[in-house]
């Protein structure tokens, strides 16, 4: 019996080794991309060195593979522009879908996730990858992404003052590594009616308030006048997610793999959200019809995600229209003792493969992408300000100089024709306000399996199908399963 098994195992091993040797033999003649694929032992040691990134060898022919789920035309133009500047570097931009409408059923996304995993684990992953559709934390945990933060620090040609370092710094992991560089970001803020808030005489400090303080504030506000809603949130779930995000560390203990969704904290959140809905304290939805008798905004606070500067200017336009009410952006509530500063959500997060042999080239290209040199729209026209179809070109860029160049152009170009509504004059003062929003943002909005589990289960409570305890228990069980895998 032993001999038999020995025979079988040796037979299999022979097959394996012949398979591997023939395969690695093929590797050399594979194609020009091989450069990035051959598993050079040097590549991995290089990745772990925090030392300065050597500048790319200008005489080396290399092909960078740049993978993404969804195409962004900026990447293509940028790749072309970069190739022109660096004739020895070819950029192979690979994407799965041209736009998300192609993939409503998410089959392609699943394909992208799976093939990326297979590619990365086989050591053949792309040199650069857009992580937006991928679970970045898992890749980082497996050491598959290079620490671009080190590259950034070690590169004297990277001018920190040209970038929103507040964004980049706050994306660092708890160990201080920075594995993805976002090319753009959106801002999550509260909007408030300044006049009304001042008249009400209720004092608050949006720099430091927690959700409890915020909810207290709106309750005080609505206690004085009940023809206005205190806060208009997108929906209950979203509010819950917001609250859970700020208190994430109290709900989830990743180190000890325990969750606290059955705690009073979480139950309190659930109950508070539901309870306040009955009064005029909270309103859920995106549109609010003006109630009779009150002009302007029948709410004290609303929440908003400024995906592109367009939305900000739309607000500026509204401000110009309604003289009595001036819309002001406030910071969203945060955890106790957290630094002041708003929330932002990074987009087009690009990572470099830790095992790529072309890291210097990849970093150089990433730098080029970040600088926005190839950004098609020199100015933000009305068309370029919307996000749809524009991708990078319409968003808040990570490059400060690009942002300044674009806004300067816009101020010079005179009144801005919005997609709806008349031309809006963008003043330096408007821009200053926007600037301060951008430069103060320091809390990333994150997503993850746990938040998704929460979002899936909690509507049952909000719609009265289940009790808070039941929902909390289900979430607690599922999250515990997740944490202990």
């Amino acid at each position: 019996m032993k001999k038999i098994s020995m025979f079988v195992v040796s037979c299999l091993l022979i097959v394996v080794f012949t398979g591997c040797t023939s395969a690695s033999g093929e590797g050399g003649t594979d194609n020009q991309i091989t450069n990035s694929h051959t598993e050079q032992p040097g590549a991995s040691t290089q990745a772990t060195q925090p030392a300065a990134m050597p500048s790319p060898d200008p005489n080396k022919q290399s092909t960078l593979v740049f993978s993404m789920y969804k195409r962004d035309s900026y990447f293509e133009t940028a790749a072309k522009a970069y190739e022109k500047e660096h004739p020895n570097t070819k950029i192979n931009v690979k994407y799965i879908v041209k736009n998300t409408s192609e993939d409503i059923s998410r089959a392609k996304q699943e394909k992208f996730k799976s093939t990326m995993i297979a590619d990365f684990l086989n050591g053949k992953g792309p040199d650069l990858v857009v992580m937006d559709a991928l679970p970045a934390d898992k890749y980082v945990a497996k050491g598959l992404l290079a620490n671009v933060g080190d590259m950034l620090k070690g590169d004297p040609s990277f001018k920190k003052e040209n970038y929103y370092m507040n964004i980049l710094d706050s994306l660092q992991t708890s160990e201080g590594g920075l594995y993805m560089l976002p090319l753009s970001f959106s801002l999550h803020t509260l909007t408030g009616d300044q006049q009304l808030l001042e008249q009400s005489g209720v004092h608050f400090n949006d720099q430091s308030w927690t959700w409890t303080e915020f909810l207290d504030t709106i309750q005080q506000l609505t206690a004085k006048r009940d023809d206005r809603y205190g806060f208009m949130a997108f929906d209950e779930n979203n509010l819950l997610l917001n609250m859970a995000r700020t208190d994430y560390n109290r709900l989830v203990d990743a180190v000890n793999r325990t969750a606290h969704f059955d705690s009073d904290l979480f139950l309190g959140m659930l109950e508070q959200i539901k309870q306040m809905k009955g009064q005029t304290v909270l309103y859920y939805g995106k549109e609010l019809k003006q109630t009779e008798g009150s002009k302007g905004f029948p709410i004290y606070f609303g929440e908003d995600e400024l995906l592109t500067p367009y939305q900000y200017f739309q607000y500026a336009a509204n401000m110009q229209n309604s003289k009595e009410h001036s819309l002001v952006f406030y910071e969203k509530p945060k955890a106790e003792g957290q630094q002041p500063g708003g929330y932002f959500e990074p987009y087009l997060k690009i990572a470099i493969h830790a095992k790529s042999s072309l890291q210097p080239e990849a970093w150089d290209f990433l730098k080029f992408l970040m600088s926005g040199q190839a950004s098609a729209a020199a100015a933000w026209g009305a068309n370029d300000l919307t996000y749809e179809g524009q991708g990078f070109n319409g968003t808040f860029p990570i490059s400060k100089s690009l942002y300044t160049a674009k806004t300067d152009n816009m101020v010079q170009a005179g009144p801005l024709q919005m997609l709806e509504g008349g031309p809006v004059k963008i003043t330096e003062q408007d821009l200053k306000k926007l600037d301060s929003l951008v430069t103060s943002a320091n809390k990333p909005i994150f997503d993850g399996e746990i938040l998704q589990i929460m979002a899936k289960e909690s509507p049952a409570y909000f719609h009265g199908q289940k009790s808070a305890q039941e929902v909390a228990k289900i979430i607690q069980n599922k999250v515990t399963t997740y944490l202990n895998e």
Binding site: S73, T77, K98, A376, G381, N383, D384
Partner: protein
């Protein structure tokens, strides 16, 4: 026996299944063909071309008419009718050359009259001198004074009269002739012999200052020019030839190509309607020095610019524009259930140059043997299925 029976039943059943199966497959097959055909018919029809590698010689032809730099009209100096016209149209005349003689009789008669009056005055002066001598002998101071005065005044009158005669005499020589003020060419004789004229009699062109014309040239082609540069200009006409001109003035022109004055190349073609190119034009003034040039001569400026480097040339109709730049649609084939299917794919291109027929685009990876859609029966969208 039972087995045989049941096997017979089985075979019958199998046959039924086979019939149903072939029906099912058949219907689907027919439907596939049919729907493919139906869809095919509703697809936009396209005409394609393969871009030819090469460079686009970008031609520009602009015509204009020459205008003299300096041309003056010479007026009748006296108002007399011309008696003899010495110059003929087109004559090249030297400075001071006699051009027209005018009627002198009126002037001569007046001179004669004046001379007679002078004579009369001179006679009068003798009388006065005698009067003075007489008075001087007397002691009547007043009378002496009066006589002196009279004599003095007559003297003045005399000199005045002499001046007038002199004037008349010069007038007779000067104003009865028209002479060329500068070397030039007579461009028009307006005077007619023996008919009094009150306007200009001769139009004279200064040949030393030469001719000039204005023309609008696309900014892209004029980019390398500065004032003072020489350009070749073709003189149109029977003996068309090339003459060198010199740029004297350049200024940007905001007017669009379509309302160019001498409609140089704004031939209305469908492509230019489809894509409103707001070509920047430059107003250029060119001066020319050639004796044989006539004002009003048609001149033509011919420019050729090679849209340089590795370019592909394709029909101008194929290139469209949106807010992100120029693009073309290429026909791409993908395998379908029944052979290849064709799709329109939008590709942004870098336009190097274009003329009214063709456009040169930068050579890129994708466009090496791409089928570029020139015409389509309906507006296309990226990714749309098409047929040929």
């Amino acid at each position: 026996m039972e087995a045989l029976l049941s096997s017979g039943k089985r075979n019958a059943r199998k046959r039924i299944v086979v019939v149903i199966a072939s029906l099912f497959i058949g219907i689907l097959l027919v439907w596939t063909l049919f729907s493919n055909m139906m869809i095919g018919l509703t697809l936009p029809r396209v005409v394609t071309e393969t871009p030819a590698p090469g460079s686009l010689d970008f031609n520009f032809q602009g015509t204009s008419s020459l205008q003299p730099v300096l041309e003056v009209e010479l007026f009748n100096p006296s108002g007399e009718k011309p008696t003899e016209i010495l110059a003929r149209e087109g004559d090249v005349v030297q400075k001071g050359q006699l051009l027209v003689r005018y009627d002198r009789t009126a002037k001569e008669q007046q001179l004669e009259l004046e001379q007679n009056a002078l004579k009369k005055m001179k006679l009068g002066s003798k009388q006065l001198q005698d009067d003075f001598k007489l008075a001087a002998r007397g002691d009547d101071a007043a009378a002496i004074e009066a006589a002196r005065n009279a004599m003095e005044s007559l003297k003045l009158d005399l000199s005045a009269q002499e001046k007038r005669i002199q004037m008349l005499q010069t007038e007779l020589t000067d104003r009865t002739e028209l002479r060329a003020p500068f070397t030039g060419r007579v461009t028009a004789i307006l005077a007619i012999e023996n008919i009094p004229s009150n306007g200009a009699d001769i139009r004279l062109l200064n040949t030393e200052r030469g001719m000039q014309f204005d023309i609008q040239i696309p900014a892209g082609m004029a980019a390398e020019w500065t004032e003072g540069d020489a350009i070749k200009v073709r003189i149109l006409g029977k003996d068309s030839r090339l003459v060198e001109g010199r740029i004297t003035k350049m200024e940007a022109d905001s007017r669009k190509e379509s309302n160019m004055p001498e409609g140089s190349d704004a031939t209305k073609n469908p492509a230019s309607e489809e894509r409103q190119t707001t070509k920047e034009m430059v107003q250029v003034q060119v001066s020319m020095h050639d004796k044989s040039l006539r004002a009003g001569n048609r001149v033509q400026v011919e420019l050729t610019q090679s849209a340089g480097g590795d370019t592909f040339v394709l029909s101008r109709k194929a290139v469209h524009q949106d807010r992100n730049g120029f693009y073309v649609f290429t026909a791409q084939s993908r395998p379908g259930p029944l052979g290849n299917q064709f799709y329109a794919s939008k590709n942004y291109v870098t336009v190097i140059g274009e003329d009214d027929q063709r456009t040169a685009i930068a050579q890129e990876l994708w466009n090496e043997d791409a089928e570029i859609i020139v015409e389509s029966s309906e507006p296309l969208m990226d990714g749309q299925r098409i047929r040929f």
